[in-house]
Amino acid sequence: MRRPRAFTLLELMVATVTVTMVAGAVAGFLGTFHRALRLQDVRAAAIVRTAAVQAHVSRLLLESRMLLEQGQQRTLLWLPSEMLEDSGSGAESAFDLINLTAGELHWLLFEQESDGTWSLKEAVVDAATIPAGQGDRYFSVDANYWNSVFEDLHAAGQLTIFPIAEGLAPMARDGVVAAAPRFTYGTASICTNRALGIEFAFMRERLDDAGELTGEEELRLDVRLDEHLPFPDIHPICGGGS
């Protein structure tokens, strides 16, 4: 009976090298495949979130009549519930009265999270927390006044704050990264401004093989959005009309 011949050392070595090369090629291909899919996910998220921010802000501005506060990280949109021509002017007129429980004030704000990323959020007054008879505020063009209204409501827990977009970063322009995402305005005066600019970026860091962040940018998408007030109502206090 013929005895089966065993593999020679050379055959085993060739087989080992071949298997290793094939395994390496497969692993490389799978790695590339995985990175490509991840990049697709990141890009898809950036597209969807950019569109979501634009749609959300556009809708708010469509209903807004003025921007009452114009800060770099916070802006206040005024959505009065009455028409200017119905209310007249003067300290006691309905147009001057802003009731906190009527949903007329909407803040947009950029806030930095504990992980260093930024979020674009909207804050509205939680009407249920405003005691009866304490909701009246009167129109003012004083930015400090509106800042104090926000700070007081925030400190008292009377605001509902929800995110519009998370995981944001400051925008880069000509290779220089800004300190923070920000709002810009057509003019510095709330009486004449009709335009709101929003600058931010989506930035994702590359992961190493262990799934740890490497500090290198995998994707950076710098976004500049410009929106305007289609139906502004300049308050009589500014010397304008409807």
């Binding site: 291909f29 890009r43 597209i47 569109a51 322009r173 335009a195 998408l221 500049r224 305007h228």
Partner: protein, 154 residues
């Protein structure tokens, strides 16, 4: 009686390798196409923002000065509504703005004609051959308001 077990022949191994290579190539092509399509979607999204930015300027500037916005901005020369440069991918886009005086008749209101500007903004980028590739077109009508006919801002 001994059983003879046949190993794979060289041809079988080569056929298997070709099949695996073809499958890998197909997967790579699919992924590549997906990434290219997403890149286009990204550019179209940003182009729409570039067009909206110009439209913001056209709808917020003084009525009489709207025609001054007509013109062509080359890639790299795009400005936001506050005069700052557009960032990143937006910087690679060009923009054309046309403004035409086109009175609009209102259906259902015989004889009512609104005067105003028909504003068209087209945003494009350049393909590998340097040709223009249209990404977004925005058209809006800005009517002349009663206040504007009196010389006041809207």
């Amino acid at each position: 009686m001994s059983i003879v077990r046949g190993a794979f022949t060289l041809v079988e191994c080569l056929v298997a390798l070709v099949i695996v290579a073809m499958a890998a190539a197909a997967a790579s092509t699919a992924i590549g196409s997906g990434i290219a399509a997403q890149e286009d979607a990204l550019r179209i999204t940003l182009a729409a923002a570039c067009a909206e930015s110009r439209m913001t300027q056209a709808l917020t500037t003084d009525y009489g000065t709207v025609p001054n916005l007509a013109g062509h901005e080359e890639p790299g020369a795009l400005l936001a509504s506050d005069g700052t440069a557009m960032p990143g991918l937006m910087e690679e886009m060009g923009r054309r703005t046309t403004v035409a005086a086109e009175p609009q008749a209102i259906p259902g209101f015989a004889g009512l004609v609104l005067t105003g500007w028909q504003i068209t903004v087209t945003v494009y980028d350049l393909d590998e051959d340097g040709g223009e590739r249209e990404l977004a077109v925005l058209r809006r009508f800005r009517p002349e308001t009663w206040e504007e006919t009196q010389g006041a801002s809207p």
